[in-house]
Amino acid sequence: MTANNIAVKIRNVSHQFGEKGDRHHVQALQQTSLDIARGELLCLIGPSGCGKSTLLNIIGGLVKPTSGTVEIGNTVVDGPLPQEIAFVFQENALFPWNTVLENVMLGLMFQGVPRAERMARAQKSLAAVGLADFMHHYPGQLSGGMRQRAALARALSLQTNILLMDEPFGALDEQTRMILGEDLSVLLARSGKTIVFVTHSLGEAVFLADRVAVFSARPGTIKDVIAVDEPHPRKPEFVTTDKFTTLRNKLYTLLHDEIRRAAAEAGERPTAADIAT
C-alpha cells in the first residue's frame, strides 16, 4: 500500500465511554491503527462490544475519539464529512414521514446538491438498488430488506468516495441477507468506492470483503487482518468453494477465543447466536 493509495488512515485510536473509575466507564477501543486502501472493501468483525461500531462512527466523524486520529486524504476527521463519507446504519434510519424518494432527495439536500439535480440522482440510485417501483412508498410500507435497499440508495446517491456500513443487514433474515449481499457485491464492484462494513456474520465477511479485520474482545483492538483474494463481483457459487470454507474456518478460529473471553467478562456463557455462520 503506497502512501497516496490510502483512503483512511487510522492512528492509535482509543475510545472510552465515561471517565476512569466511573461506574459506567467502558474502554471500548484501545490503540487501534489501520490503513484502508482506496477502493477496497474492509469488513470489521469481532465479539459484541469490541468497539467495531465505535470505530466506524469515529471514522465517519460522528464520535470523537478519546485519543488518536483518523485521516481522510490529508485532513484529520473532526466531525461529519458529508462530501466524503456516507453511512448505512443497522437500524432503520429512513425518515418514516417521507416517501422513499423524498428520503433520498432530502439526503441530497442536506449534502448541498442543487435542487435541479436531486430528482434525477435520487431516481437513478433507487433504480440501481431495484426500488424503481417503490419510490412513492413510505418506509413503513416496505419489508426490512427493501428498507435497507432504500437506505443504501440514499447513501449511494450522495456519491461519496467512502461508504461506512454498520451491520446494514443485521436485522434481516438469512435469505434476504444472502440476496442483499450478492446484490451489494455486484453494485459495489463497479463503484470503486472504499467501503468499511461492520458485521457479525463470518460468511458475510468472507463473501464481501477484500480484507477482514478481526477485533479482540474489549478493550477492542485489531487482532489480525485476513485477505480474501477473490475478484469482485463475487459469484454466489463462491460460498461453496474450498477457499471460502478455509477462510471462514480461519476467521472462526480467530474469533472463537475472543468471543469466549468477551462472554466470560460479561459473565455469560456464549450462545450459538454469538458465532453466526
Binding site: P80, A86, F87, F95, Q111
Partner: protein, 255 residues
C-alpha cells in the same frame, strides 16, 4: 363481504346511538308532561326548543358568544405560543427535561381552577381573569406534549441527518418538526378543549358577560326554558369547535 359487514355494523351502531338520544328526549318529554316533574327544575323540551329557535333568530346570543370566543381565542393563542416555545427550549437538554417534565406534570395534575378567585382579585371580573385561567390550564398539556414530541425523537434520525450534512435549521425543519408534530398536535387539541371548558366554567362562577354568565343569569331569574336553550347552544358550539379542531389535527398528522 367483510366490507359490507363492517358497513352494516357501523349503520347499526348509528341507529342505536340515534335511538338512545330519541329515548332520552322522550323520557324528558314524559317527565315534564306525565310524571309531574316541576317545570322549575325541568322545563318542557318543546318549550326549550322554541326558546332555542328564538335565541338563534333574534341574534341575542351574539354579544355573549363574542365574549366567550374572544376569551378562548386569546387564551389559546397565549398558551399555544408559550407552551410550544417553552416546551421546545426544555426539550433541547436532557437535564432540563429531567428537571421540568415531572414538575410540570405535577402542576398539571392539581385543579388549577382553584386559582380563579386569585385571578379575579388580580384581574377583575372581566375577560382578563378568564383568559388568564384558560391560558394557564391549557398551557400544561401543550408544554408537556411539546417536550414529549421534541425531546424523544429517535436518535438515529438525528445521527443520519447529521452524517449527511444537515444544518441546524434543516435538522429542525425536516427531522425534529415532522417527528414531533403529531404529538404536539394532540397536545394542542387537548389544550384547546380544556381552555374552552375552563373558560365556560369560570364564566358561570364569576363574570360580567359570556355564555356561562348568561346561563347563570337565566338560572337566577328562574327562566329555566331559556337557560336550557342556552345550554344546548353552548354544547353545540363546543361540539362544533372540537370537531373543527380534531379535523385540523387529523389533517396535520396525515402523511
Amino acid at each position: 363481504m367483510n366490507d359490507r359487514g363492517s358497513r352494516r355494523d357501523r349503520l347499526l351502531s348509528r341507529l342505536v346511538q340515534a335511538a338512545f338520544v330519541i329515548g332520552l328526549l322522550a323520557l324528558w318529554y314524559l317527565a315534564t308532561t306525565r310524571w309531574g316533574v316541576s317545570h322549575l327544575l325541568l322545563p318542557n323540551p318543546l318549550l326549550v326548543w322554541r326558546e332555542f329557535v328564538d335565541v338563534l333568530s333574534s341574534g341575542e346570543f351574539l354579544p355573549d358568544l363574542a365574549v366567550t370566543l374572544g376569551e378562548l381565542a386569546i387564551a389559546f393563542l397565549i398558551s399555544s405560543f408559550s407552551g410550544v416555545t417553552v416546551g421546545y427550549l426544555i426539550s433541547r437538554s436532557q437535564y432540563l427535561i429531567r428537571v421540568f417534565e415531572p414538575l410540570l406534570a405535577g402542576i398539571y395534575s392539581i385543579p388549577i381552577i382553584l386559582f380563579l378567585p386569585l385571578y379575579v382579585l388580580l384581574l377583575g371580573l372581566g375577560p382578563a381573569s378568564k383568559i388568564a385561567l384558560g391560558g394557564t390550564i391549557s398551557f400544561f398539556p401543550i408544554v408537556l406534549s411539546t417536550i414529549a414530541g421534541f425531546g424523544y425523537v429517535e436518535r438515529i434520525y438525528i445521527t443520519a441527518a447529521r452524517s449527511m450534512g444537515a444544518t441546524y435549521y434543516q435538522l429542525f425543519r425536516y427531522v425534529l418538526l415532522p417527528a414531533a408534530l403529531p404529538v404536539i398536535l394532540s397536545g394542542l387539541r387537548m389544550g384547546f378543549t380544556v381552555a374552552l371548558l375552563s373558560i365556560l366554567g369560570s364564566e358561570t362562577l364569576a363574570s360580567l358577560a359570556g355564555l356561562g354568565h348568561r346561563i347563570v343569569h337565566l338560572a337566577e331569574s328562574m327562566d329555566m326554558a331559556r337557560m336550557f336553550a342556552y345550554i344546548v347552544f353552548a354544547v353545540a358550539i363546543a361540539a362544533l369547535l372540537n370537531t373543527v379542531v380534531s379535523a385540523l389535527e387529523a389533517r396535520g398528522k396525515r402523511r
